[in-house]
Amino acid sequence: MTVKIPLRLQGIDLRDAEAYERIPPELGELFWMANGAMSLAVVLSDDREAVAATEAADFARHIAKQMSNVLVAEVYDELVSVSDVATRVGVAPEAVRLWAARKRRASLRPFPTPRQVVGTGSGGKTMSLYAWREVLSWIREILCTDPEEGIEYLSDTQLADLNARLAAIRAERSAWHPIAVKNEQIITDIQQICQETRISFGRASLAGSSGSDIQGQDRKLRVELQ
């Protein structure tokens, strides 16, 4: 069994083929893909769910560390329509509609309830979206067929736990960190840089001048720049 944990990324758009160049070789174990606007790094682990979830959290930490401005937003809990389910199972959409309406195959275990209902934009019609993890479990038990052979997903609890760990990683990365350098030293360095810059700038500006009041020329030049 392979545990599949798709991680939704933010800060990178994998629809653009050039974006893949940002992926470091150390993260080559992940399966990187774009499903429309969703940029995903998929963890495919042969370990048990709990271990795989820990691996996913570790990968999220590596992504945040090694890919500038890229973070794992959450575990991607894929939603599917009736039509998607029909395509994946290999049956007519009408069959899936009847399952979802609980008019067929509902005696042993009813079809999962929708996770979202969205408008289709015409005539007030709506479309229900179902969690693929739940639908897959129902299909395996009731239809005795397997559209994702050898693949296991996290349970609701494991998924919520991993999302909490990912949120903690995000919070950790976005927090302000104090820099352990003495303020006095920084001020001195900056003053020195400013001094050197003014002198060199003054010299450059005076390269073609014959006057002796260097400080005056310098101030004059700075005023001109402003």
Binding site: T2, K4, L14, R15, A17, Y20, E21, I23, P25, G28, E29, F31, W32, M33, A34, N35, G36, A37, V42, L44, D46, D84, T87, R88, V89, G90, V91, A92, C144, T145, E148
Partner: protein, 225 residues
């Protein structure tokens, strides 16, 4: 160093067979390959969506772990993508393959239904047999009960009709009297045998038979009371 390969061009081959299968499927579906050929990356494969916002793509690595599982996920992505600027004729082929796949699935489901129905029919037949036997048993039990009730009534009637038997003591007294009479007759016959043996022998035989009968009746009396 990268090169772009369209669906009408021949794509570079991957060193792993499972990735070649996924690449062949993507190629046939009209996807394009951005061949990177870096030490760890083979390239990026993108679907032919005209809408940039809906595009699908995936990265093909070279030797990273789990390549076989990743290639399977890539094939799922290719099959799930419906963006189709497919080469000429491939739409017909795709529909034909889709039809064949759906029919295979239908046949598989029909076979499952057939097996299920056969089992259900066998179970229904077994239930019918069981019900029939139970009905027969109930009928037989009812008939037997009726017959037994009838016999019981007859027996009760016979008991009612029968004469009242004498008391056991009276029967025993009768048997004792009979035994005494036999003893006396034997004595007389024994005396007669001296002078008239031919006359006495049959009498003695009868007395003996009577004694046996008396003994038998004593036995029956003891068993009854």
């Amino acid at each position: 160093m990268s090169a772009h390969y369209g669906p009408d061009e021949s794509w570079p081959r991957h060193q792993k067979s499972w990735w070649n299968e996924a690449l062949a499927e993507a190629h046939a579906a009209g996807w394009t390959l951005n061949y990177i050929d870096a030490p760890h990356k083979f390239g990026v494969v993108s679907c032919p969506s005209e809408d940039d916002g809906a595009r699908h793509s995936f990265m093909v690595d070279k030797t990273a772990r789990g390549g076989e599982t990743k290639s399977k996920e890539a094939r799922k992505l290719v099959r799930g993508c419906r963006h189709g600027s497919t080469p000429l004729g491939s739409k017909v082929r795709a529909r034909q393959e889709e039809c064949e796949r759906l029919l295979q699935e239908a046949e598989r489901l029909i076979a499952i239904a057939d097996t299920g129905l056969t089992l259900a029919e066998a179970q229904a037949a077994a239930w019918a047999d069981l019900e029939r036997l139970e009905t027969q048993l109930e009928t037989a039990a009812a008939n037997l009960a009726a017959i037994l009730r009838e016999q019981q009534e007859e027996a009760l009637q016979a008991v009612d009709d029968a004469d009242d038997p004498p008391e056991p003591d009276a029967i025993a007294a009768a048997l004792d009297d009979a035994a005494s009479a036999v003893t006396e007759s034997e004595s007389a016959a024994t005396a007669l045998r001296v002078r008239k043996p031919k006359l006495a022998e049959p009498l003695l035989s009868r007395a003996e038979a009577a004694r046996v009968m008396i003994s038998d009746l004593h036995g029956r009396l003891g068993a009854l009371y």
